[in-house]
Symmetry: D2
Amino acid sequence: MNIGLIGAGRIGRIHGEILTKHVTGAKITVVAEVYANGETIAWANGLGIGKVVKDYHEVLADPAVDAVFICSSTDTHTQIIMEAARAGKQIFCEKPISYDIDKIVEALRVVKECGVKLQIGFNRRFDHNFGKIRAMVQDGKVGDVQVVKITSRDPAPPPIPYIKVSGGIFLDMMIHDFDMARFLSGSEVAEVYAQGAVLVDPAIGEAGDVDTAIVSLKFANGALGVIDNSRQAVYGHDQRVEVFGSKGCLAARNDTDTSVDYYTPDCMVSGNPIRPFRVRYELAYATEVQAFVDAVNGGKPTAVGGWDGLQPILIGLAATQSLKEGKPVAVRRLDRI
Amino acid sequence: MNIGLIGAGRIGRIHGEILTKHVTGAKITVVAEVYANGETIAWANGLGIGKVVKDYHEVLADPAVDAVFICSSTDTHTQIIMEAARAGKQIFCEKPISYDIDKIVEALRVVKECGVKLQIGFNRRFDHNFGKIRAMVQDGKVGDVQVVKITSRDPAPPPIPYIKVSGGIFLDMMIHDFDMARFLSGSEVAEVYAQGAVLVDPAIGEAGDVDTAIVSLKFANGALGVIDNSRQAVYGHDQRVEVFGSKGCLAARNDTDTSVDYYTPDCMVSGNPIRPFRVRYELAYATEVQAFVDAVNGGKPTAVGGWDGLQPILIGLAATQSLKEGKPVAVRRLDRI
Amino acid sequence: MNIGLIGAGRIGRIHGEILTKHVTGAKITVVAEVYANGETIAWANGLGIGKVVKDYHEVLADPAVDAVFICSSTDTHTQIIMEAARAGKQIFCEKPISYDIDKIVEALRVVKECGVKLQIGFNRRFDHNFGKIRAMVQDGKVGDVQVVKITSRDPAPPPIPYIKVSGGIFLDMMIHDFDMARFLSGSEVAEVYAQGAVLVDPAIGEAGDVDTAIVSLKFANGALGVIDNSRQAVYGHDQRVEVFGSKGCLAARNDTDTSVDYYTPDCMVSGNPIRPFRVRYELAYATEVQAFVDAVNGGKPTAVGGWDGLQPILIGLAATQSLKEGKPVAVRRLDRI
Amino acid sequence: MNIGLIGAGRIGRIHGEILTKHVTGAKITVVAEVYANGETIAWANGLGIGKVVKDYHEVLADPAVDAVFICSSTDTHTQIIMEAARAGKQIFCEKPISYDIDKIVEALRVVKECGVKLQIGFNRRFDHNFGKIRAMVQDGKVGDVQVVKITSRDPAPPPIPYIKVSGGIFLDMMIHDFDMARFLSGSEVAEVYAQGAVLVDPAIGEAGDVDTAIVSLKFANGALGVIDNSRQAVYGHDQRVEVFGSKGCLAARNDTDTSVDYYTPDCMVSGNPIRPFRVRYELAYATEVQAFVDAVNGGKPTAVGGWDGLQPILIGLAATQSLKEGKPVAVRRLDRI
């Protein structure tokens, strides 16, 4: 299976390195990067990838390419998805697909018509902790799910210019947690109520966003949920989930950088949550990409399809509206594509 | 310091036993219990208390009694508070003072006029874990408080007849957590949004209450918060709090019944959260009562005064209204008494 | 059941207070303390004990006394045990019974002849953690016991004058752990090899003792074990045990003073092991004394009899010899009394 | 830096894969494997290594090869080290160098004369937990080291034929822990006393070895230590260390396969220690090999030299003798090479 990597920015390079070092059954044969320069070529060559182009259409036109990884900017996703589908390529697309529901729906219809596979990059579904909880929930270990709680805090906020074009905290950051809420509960989200505040950096507020948010959820199956986000946890990447049900409770603590305890006269000191998201989710990325490769090679459905990519956008838009209007908002329901 | 114990039901007996066994500087000289019988007398005698009466007025009329513990039913609290204050007794009153704001306000005014002390029985403030977090927050250890999270789940729901007269989950159960939210954040709660569901027992719904609830909070100082309650955590008494701020995060895990880990081929097995609330909060009760005795004997203000007893009721009423109306509700503000 | 308390020093007062506050079915009616003064009388009166004498023979001669707690100095234990047994009193005796094997054997024979009960004060057997491990081991949870590991470190060394008359670290401090080794493994100790060093305070070495020690054990059933002691763990009372077997492993962590975690930019900070032994073992003392009272009142054997009191002395003497001679030493075996 | 890999068995393949995927600044250009077949070639090609030979002399004769990884059977190590050194190659050699002290000494002398670098494969020194403890000990965090405790238990015993040629548990398995004892304490081991038992599998005893062992250590600097090994911990790879000192204590818990806690009515269930040693120590292997590459490329001493490779053998031989003779044995001291 030959892969064309479209976009060699931060996330594109993660996938490029993961594919080269940790994934079997696939290799990257070409990289398309609109801003490609000597440094891009050096990076690609370092991974044993000989071909770097600027125009992704060269990738789509290459008959030797079986699949594409779309890691370009969000506004280009749906266009490339449709072109790739029409070119018969299998598709891995980074999240979010788009912020425009109509464009997403159109893209998913084209994917369906063309009969290609599509996997959306919700990598946390492949995390060892969260994946285990999902499996145990599905195995009935907590009985009926009653409450889902998700804490997700980044070590530090992104640059203000990024904040301005990010779509806001609900579509940029909490979107992962909306996906996780569906993944863990096994139910759609029916309604949200969002609280937000600017507590980390006033510049984030000036950019029109909040940096701290709590969203209450009502699930279609009657369960309740809550997600809290912060753009800055000074102690590292705080990533915890909890599923409480009639038979018990499953909770993921943070992974820590070491298992060392230090006993002093005053206190006991331990390792922090792992800070860099790249390190924290290295294994999850590898598992995610391997899952895509295996699904394509094995002719099976992908683990996170286009429909799963669409729902968190719908929830994020409802949360954005809820924060603006100061009241609960129902999540828009669409016919299944 | 001689104490008259008014009410010898479950909570009255806890205080009676705590006072006798764990508290210095005070002793119970008389018990008033409207349903007193031979068993009541035997219980009192077992603690070395010689006098048991049915009418609490006898206690108030006894010049040897310095202070009263009001542990009678909630609807009698404000009346007894006012009478005790006018009789010059120092007062410890179980929570909630009342569900009627006007009556609370009147009682607090009488207490103020009479110049007696009043402490409300929010025992969790005296818990070793929560007290430590409060102290560390006040010491600036988390910097500016940004998010307060409280999980509070009981091992099993109370009987349905109790549910019917309980005032609802927000006034009966979450009231402790509303107090805790104020205690930990150091700020008043300005607005709440309540979600509720009947997921544990349909009979609770038929009794007009919910058994699972999530309440989002906005604090007066701009911080956000969330509390989740369940009437039934099959694994024990789940009592966790978390205060997240600009400099770090403080979190209390559950206390467990043992510190034993059991490594098996399949998993590692540890002790559960301590189940009986009496055992979980034994030390907190003792600390609470000692604090009252010390405040009275030392002529200092009590740690949890009438104003602190009033606020959680106001929050609980707002949450009750929010759940009914399906929208956020501002907490009523009163002039400080 | 009326109890005469013989000895009102540190451990005597612990038992006096535990008996009064936490134990049902027994009460102290008289205290004998050779150095009794006004302060002793005030302490006794504070617990509601009206009678304080200097000569313990008055206690033994009192027909209203059913049982005695022998908390006097170690060198008086066997003499008082024999006199009490002959006076028909039930006996609780603090550890160690004596350092003189012949005297212990004689005392146990007298106890047996007189048909009274004898319980030795190995309070740690009644600790919630260690008791749970013992129960699980006996229930087969670890399969065949292969390795027993015990860590026991005190927060600070006792005064040097105490060290000089203590009998040495193996008979004064590790004796608890020798008892624990038998208790957890369910097997006798056959052979020991002791290492010792003076690493905490040179004055301990000058007093003829070591302050740090590791003893390897061979059990009669073929299992292996190791105990390490230190007179000073600056971070508190370090008390851990581990039983490793063919089906799994049971390990007791330290109990901590709180369950609070503090996440900072540098590390995660938690509570220390509980420091004062009185607080750490409060519940164990209460359980221990209640067990004695229940055994006497119920006419059942005590949980820790004279034979169990004798064995740790034999092991301690072997360890002392091993350290002196620098080689493994077999533990002396006696015919069961 | 071009590397020749000598030996492509289990450990050779680990190093081959680590070098290819995780290490920068070096690449394998040739593999020598005496039993090389088509499968060996396929494995090598899969890593992009084009050349596979049977005779390691071809590797040593190749002027393009800068360094060798000696992963052949233990009995060939010293011979290959000497030949490689004389050929001017930098050397990474798996542990143990040899069981023959004279041969080790000779090899180390040749390495010294030839001026090449030698690193011994004690990979656990590069573990994130143990490395952190070592750094903190050296930074004075525990003050004076008083006690070192190491627990090391394998998930399952190796095959009996392997046991027979392994050199015994002290030279095959505990050798890692002897190295760790030196690494953590910063002191040489002066004397050992070994206990051993056959508790896991009688066939191990019939093969002349023990499967369970406890070794007490005396360090040259006066500290004490203890190591316990078992060939079978049914719950996974149990790898813990503890350094106790005058200012505090450092302890490494096991790394677990997940951070998920499962609360049930009966107990709290968590993840086990990571079972496969390859997974547990993946990061340590990568760090180890990178350290070698960096040392060679940077012209600096290796982190674990020949002297460090020799000492654990001397300790292991002393432990073997101690077990045989049933008494403490001093570790042989040699002049520093």
